[in-house]
Symmetry: C2
Subunit: 309 residues, 2 copies
């Protein structure tokens, strides 16, 4: 009897579902937009339950073939209690006991966690971090987050809020951050500051990292300088965690990591130059293997870990 | 049958030994200076073995009452293999298989580890961190180090080099550090930069933190300003790890932590102001409970953990 998991990746724009095979393959997918339902929690939960049932039915699976539902959400989640504490980009979600609500609706085990933690689980179990005991999975995008696998376990911290690498300060007098801090890593390598850097270097408004990637591929010197500077920023931000965690691996994911060839050599050089000798010599930098499926696959790992399979 | 541990704390100046009771009490102590033996590894190991035997004999213990020997050393130690990789302040120690050498000489189990890791184990098991699942133990002195208890275990990292909080950069353009990095935490809160800050504020050479403590106790305004600035530096350096680890507790030890009353309120204020809301609300700051005995007591925890008592 195969044991499938329905993985759900709740984003601010889309909600993705996938039926995940025990070995991490996504065998069926569906998705729907978040916006039409984001005004009402109960509407969103109702459609979520409906879509979960639908994807199971479409594959003609029996309920006993589904081991559970894993759901990743972009915000502060109490994994232990199954409560969504707060979602910065989906209004109205405060202290929602999503696990128990959905378990009643679906009559199946449900597990909820932060989306970056699920991406980390996916990369560690099936992706770039297979077999690695200590790793950091960095996600670069509008927000900058990370997940920590330490001694072969996802490290959650006291309130399941560990991993906020995007809010590690890089400069005491740096720019103010939404989080209340100053000079946070995210203020240097999030999409907004990178787009601003690109626009400044190109002396053109509205530059984006995809545009800079295309230009760099054509050999544009300014675009190459942009990627060099972005890589120095990323490398500088990683020196501290390399010294602190002595990890074997840092996995870099998110849109910007598509530009591996322009970024990674410089990131490695910066770490070699600025981090401590042993730590720098032990750490590898790899690109995340999963793109859009990472959250869904990570949901499978979450459920399997929780059920002790 | 009681199970004692001989704990050894190897420092650059003195080597301290203690016989540690199963419940963490030090029931006998001895010490000898490092210098006369530091020119020769084998001389130092020979005197170490002799002193270990002596402290056991003095207490009229039988060998079977001693469960093992725990040794903390100031440097890079391969705990798993029992090899001293490198001691920055005791010349000539490179890749010394101290565990196996001493086991042969003593015919007892020997465990070796980094000294800050042992201090962390002591505070976690018997001191300020009793019963705490996730904590950081910061040691302030000439060097700045830390130990990490994550999910009820000492986190070592891939090469047993984790915890180098003193070498987390606080400013990308900060002063160069011996480690090769720039703007490391240690360059702001190690003894040397704190003494320099004190001398600058007092406009007097050779100021030290004990002198500044005495002056602050007399209500000297400049000395109070010094402690305020030192606390801001320490607090700023802790914001990153509070966001990253979401710990319940930060234990601060080392000479400077004696000045708790002048330091801790400001450190707490800085963390509350600069760290993320949930993380800041969950973290307590406490002073280390053990002083000179911490390494010896931690050696007991090391041995007990290794033997799975």
């Amino acid at each position: 009897m195969k044991k499938y998991v329905v993985g759900v990746d709740v984003g601010g724009t889309n909600i993705k579902l996938g039926l995940v095979h025990p070995r991490g393959f996504v065998i069926a997918r569906s998705h729907f937009p978040t916006k039409p339902f984001s005004s009402s929690k109960s509407k969103l939960i109702t459609v979520l339950a409906k879509e979960i049932k639908k994807i199971i039915a479409c594959e003609k699976l029996e309920i006993r073939e589904v081991v559970g539902i894993g759901i990743g959400l972009p915000g502060l989640i109490d994994y232990g209690k199954g409560i969504v504490r707060f979602l910065p980009n989906i209004p109205g979600w405060k202290n929602v006991p999503l696990k128990s609500i959905l378990q009643k609706k679906l009559n199946m085990p449900v597990f909820v966690d932060n989306d970056v933690k699920l991406i980390t689980l996916a990369e560690w179990k099936f992706g770039a971090g297979r077999g690695v005991k200590n790793l950091i999975c960095l996600t670069l995008g509008t927000g900058v987050g990370s997940g920590l696998i330490l001694d072969n376990r996802l490290y959650r911290g006291a309130g399941n809020a560990a991993g906020e690498l995007g809010h590690m300060p890089l400069n005491e007098q740096g720019p103010a951050c939404n989080c209340g801090g100053f000079g946070c890593f995210e203020r240097y390598v999030g999409n907004k500051p990178l787009f601003a850097l690109a626009s400044r270097i190109m002396n053109t408004p509205d530059m984006t990292t995809p545009k800079m990637f295309a230009l760099a591929n054509q050999g544009n010197a300014k675009a190459l300088r942009f990627w060099h500077e972005a890589a120095i920023r990323i490398g500088n931000g990683l020196v501290g965690v390399v010294n602190l965690f002595n990890p074997q691996l840092i996995i870099i994911g998110g849109g910007v990591s598509n530009n591996e060839k322009f970024l990674f050599p410089t990131i490695r050089t910066v770490i070699k130059r600025r981090a401590m000798g042993l730590q720098a010599s032990m750490v590898k930098i790899k690109r995340a293997e999963f793109g859009d499926d990472a959250g869904i696959i990570g949901a499978q790992v979450l459920v399997y870990n929780a059920k002790n399979f």
